[in-house]
C-alpha cells in the first residue's frame, strides 16, 4: 500500500512536469495550429542554462531559474520569428518538418556547447522530503515543488487567458485567425506572445524535470516533449485544464505501469492510452469536438 502511494506520488509529480510542458504545447497548437516538435528541446536548453548558471557561474538557484526562463522565452520567440513565421501560409507538413529541423538544431547546438557527456543536475529544490506514516512513505521535496508549480501555473495561465486582454486576443486568434485580424487584433504579436509563454513554461519544466531526474543530455527533452504532446492531445488540445489533467494521468499511468507491469512497457503503455483515447474521443478528454466544414 505504502509503495503504491509512493509510486502514485511519483506519478503525479512526473505528470505535473508533463502538464507544464503540455500547457506550452497546447497553447501553441491551439493558436498557431502547429505541432511544435522543438518544444521538448527548449526544455533541454532551459535545464542546461540553469545547470550552467549554478555549476559554472555559481549563481543562487533562483537567479539560475530566472536566467533560464528569460533565455528560453527569447529563444522561443526567435524560433517562431525565424523558422515558423515564414511558413504560416504553408502546409502543416512543411511546418512540422521545419520544427523537426529546429529540434535537431537545438540538440546539436547543445551537443557542441555542453558536450555529449551526461551532466548531473543538482536539484534546486531547497526543502527536505516529507515523511509520512512514521517515515515509511517518503515524498521528495522535488515532487512537492513540481506539483505545487504545476497547479500554480495552471491557475495562473487560466486566469491570464480568461481575464487579460492578451488572453482574450489569444482565444480569438485560436478560434479564427482571419476574423481576429479583422477585429484589429495583432495576430503576429499574439502568436509571438504564445511562443514566449510556452517557452518560459518549458524552461520551468526543464528545471523541475532535471531536479527529479538529474541526468542531463542533449536529448533529455525529446521524450518528455513527445509525451507532453501526448498528454495535451489526451486532455484535449487547446484546453488548459485538459493539458493538466492529461499530463497528470499520463504520468501516473507511466509510473504505475513501470512499477507493476514492466519497466520496458511504461512508455508503450502511455502511447497505447493515447491511441485508445484518440480512437474513441478524437478531441481528447476535455476538448471541444470540431465539426468539419466543406
Amino acid at each position: 500500500m505504502v509503495s503504491f502511494l509512493s509510486h502514485l506520488f511519483n506519478g503525479i509529480s512526473l505528470g505535473s512536469v508533463y502538464a507544464i510542458i503540455a500547457l506550452g504545447y497546447s497553447m501553441v497548437y491551439g493558436i498557431a495550429k502547429m505541432l511544435n516538435f522543438a518544444h521538448g528541446d527548449v526544455i533541454m536548453v532551459g535545464a542546461y542554462v540553469c545547470f550552467s548558471a549554478l555549476q559554472y557561474w555559481h549563481l543562487p538557484p533562483i537567479v539560475g531559474v530566472l536566467i533560464s526562463i528569460v533565455l528560453c522565452t527569447v529563444l522561443g520567440m526567435l524560433i517562431e520569428r525565424l523558422a515558423y513565421k515564414p511558413l504560416r501560409q504553408s502546409t502543416s507538413l512543411a511546418v512540422l518538418i521545419t520544427a523537426i529541423g529546429v529540434s535537431y538544431l537545438l540538440q546539436n547546438l547543445a551537443l557542441l556547447i555542453w558536450g555529449a557527456n551526461n551532466k548531473v543536475f543538482t536539484s534546486i529544490v531547497p526543502f527536505d522530503a516529507l515523511r509520512l506514516f512514521g517515515g515509511e512513505l517518503v515524498i521528495s521535496g522535488e515532487s512537492i515543488a513540481t506539483v505545487v508549480c504545476g497547479v500554480a501555473i495552471m491557475i495562473g495561465l487560466n486566469a491570464f487567458v480568461r481575464r487579460t486582454k492578451m488572453g482574450k486576443s489569444m482565444r480569438a486568434v485560436s478560434e479564427d485567425k482571419n476574423a481576429a485580424e479583422l477585429m484589429g487584433i495583432n495576430v503576429n504579436r499574439t502568436i509571438s506572445m504564445t511562443f514566449a509563454i510556452g517557452s518560459a513554461l518549458a524552461a520551468v519544466a526543464g528545471v523541475l524535470l532535471c531536479s527529479t531526474y538529474p541526468t542531463l543530455t542533449p536529448t533529455t527533452g525529446s521524450m518528455p516533449g513527445i509525451k507532453a504532446f501526448t498528454a495535451a492531445v489526451f486532455g484535449g488540445i487547446g484546453s488548459i485544464p485538459g493539458a493538466m489533467l492529461g499530463g497528470v494521468l499520463l504520468g501516473v499511468i507511466e509510473i504505475l505501469g513501470k512499477a507493476y507491469i514492466s519497466t520496458e512497457l511504461g512508455d508503450a503503455l502511455v502511447f497505447a492510452v493515447l491511441i485508445i483515447v484518440l480512437l474513441f474521443k478524437p478531441s481528447g478528454l476535455l476538448g471541444k469536438p470540431v465539426r468539419e466544414k466543406v
Binding site: L35, L87, Q89, T98, Y104, F271, L279, P282
Partner: protein, 350 residues
C-alpha cells in the same frame, strides 16, 4: 508533352539511373577502385533507398505524415533474422541466397500485417494527429521488441514474452537484440529489391488506384464525394509502404552480425522522412537520389561528425523556409515556365 508520356519518361529515367548506378558500382568493385568503407555501405544504401521510396508512397503520394516508418523496418529486420536462423538450423541444405530471399519475403509479410493492424485505427486520424500516433506506434513496436525473446534448440524455435529464460541458444535476446547473425545480405539482392520497389511503386502510382490515392491527398472530401473509397485506398498505400519497409528491414538486418531494436527509434524514422522531403515529396527519383547522397555524405564527413547533424538541421530548415517562400517560388516558377516555353518552341521547330 502529354501527361502519359511524361510519367513514362520519368519512370524510364529513374530505372535508367538506378541500373546505371548499379553497373558503375559493379565495375568499380571488379576493378577494386571502390574503398572498403563505401563498399560496406552499398547494402544499407539499397535498404534506405527502399525505405525512402516506400515512405514517399505514404507521405508524398498518399499525403499521410508517418513518423513510425522505422518501426516497420525493425519488424522486417527481426522477423527476417529469426527466420533465416531457423531455416539454417532446419534446412541446412538451403543456399544463402534462398534463405535471404525467404527472409525478405517474411519480413515484408510480418511488416504488412503490422501495417494492417496499425493502419485500421491510425488512418482514421488526420494531419498532426496521424503523425503523433504513427510515432507512438513506432515507439510501441520498439518497446515490445525489447521484451521478446527467441531461441533455437537444435531446429526448434522457442519464443517468449518478458521471460528471458529459454532453452538453447538465443537468436533474439530482448534489449540485447539479435546476435551472431550470419551476414547473408548481398548487394545484388539489394539492387533487385530496389528495382522491385520501383516497379511496385511506379505501377501503383500510375494506376487507377494511384490516381485515387492522389485524389484523396489533394482533396479528401471531393474525392469521397465522387465515390472514392477513402479508407481502402489509404490502407492500400499504407500497407504497401509497410511491406516494402519490412523487406528493406530484413535485408538490412541480415547485413549486420548484431542489431538492436534501439537502432530503429524516432530519429531513424525522421531520418528517412528527411530523405523524402529533401528529395521532393512525391518524386520517386528524388527519394532515390537523396537517400543515396544523404546516407553517404555523413559517412564521408566523419571528421566533422560533430557538425554534420548541425549542418543537416540547418539545411532542413533552410530548404523548408526558402522552398515555401512565395517570392522565391514565383521566381522558380517563372524560370521553369520560360524553360518550358523554349521547349515548346523547340517542339514546333522540330
Amino acid at each position: 508533352m502529354s501527361m502519359k508520356k511524361k510519367t513514362f519518361l520519368m519512370t524510364a529515367v529513374t530505372f535508367a539511373v538506378v541500373i546505371a548506378a548499379f553497373i558503375i558500382c559493379q565495375v568499380l568493385i571488379e576493378n577494386k577502385l571502390m574503398s572498403r568503407a563505401l563498399r560496406g555501405q552499398l547494402i544499407p544504401i539499397c535498404c534506405y533507398i527502399v525505405m525512402a521510396v516506400s515512405l514517399n508512397l505514404t507521405v508524398g503520394i498518399s499525403g499521410e505524415l508517418s513518423l513510425g516508418h522505422a518501426g516497420f523496418m525493425s519488424i522486417g529486420a527481426f522477423s527476417g533474422i529469426v527466420l533465416a536462423a531457423w531455416l539454417k538450423a532446419r534446412f541446412p541444405e538451403l543456399s544463402d541466397l534462398a534463405r535471404l530471399l525467404m527472409a525478405i519475403v517474411c519480413g515484408g509479410l510480418f511488416s504488412g500485417v503490422a501495417g494492417v493492424l496499425i493502419g485500421v485505427p491510425v488512418l482514421r486520424l488526420r494531419g498532426d494527429y496521424l503523425a503523433i500516433v504513427t510515432l507512438a506506434f513506432g515507439e510501441i513496436i520498439r518497446n515490445i521488441l525489447n521484451l521478446v525473446y527467441f531461441s533455437l534448440e537444435g531446429a526448434t524455435l522457442h519464443a517468449s514474452f518478458n521471460q528471458p529464460v529459454l532453452p538453447g541458444k538465443f537468436v533474439y535476446n530482448g534489449p540485447a537484440g539479435a546476435q551472431g547473425v550470419t551476414k547473408i545480405a548481398t548487394f545484388e539482392v539489394g539492387f533487385a529489391l530496389v528495382l522491385f520497389t520501383l516497379l511496385v511503386v511506379f505501377n501503383l502510382v500510375n494506376s487507377r488506384s494511384g490516381r485515387a490515392i492522389k485524389a484523396i491527398r489533394d482533396n479528401r472530401i471531393a474525392a469521397e464525394s465522387v465515390g472514392i473509397n477513402v479508407t481502402k485506398y489509404k490502407m492500400m498505400a499504407f500497407v504497401i509502404s509497410a511491406v516494402l519497409a519490412g523487406m528493406a528491414g530484413a535485408l538490412f538486418g541480415l547485413n549486420y552480425s548484431t542489431l538492436q531494436a534501439s537502432k530503429f527509434n524516432v530519429d531513424a524514422s525522421i531520418q528517412v522522412l528527411v530523405f523524402v522531403v529533401l528529395g521532393g515529396l512525391g518524386s520517386i527519383l528524388g527519394s532515390v537520389i537523396s537517400a543515396t547522397v544523404l546516407y553517404v555524405l555523413p559517412e564521408m564527413l566523419r571528421e566533422f561528425a560533430q557538425y554534420r547533424m548541425l549542418i543537416y538541421a540547418v539545411i532542413l530548415i533552410l530548404v523548408m523556409v526558402l522552398g515555401n517562400n512565395p517570392t522565391l517560388r514565383g521566381i522558380v516558377n517563372r524560370v521553369g515556365e520560360s524553360l518550358r516555353g523554349k521547349n515548346r518552341k523547340g517542339d514546333k521547330a522540330a
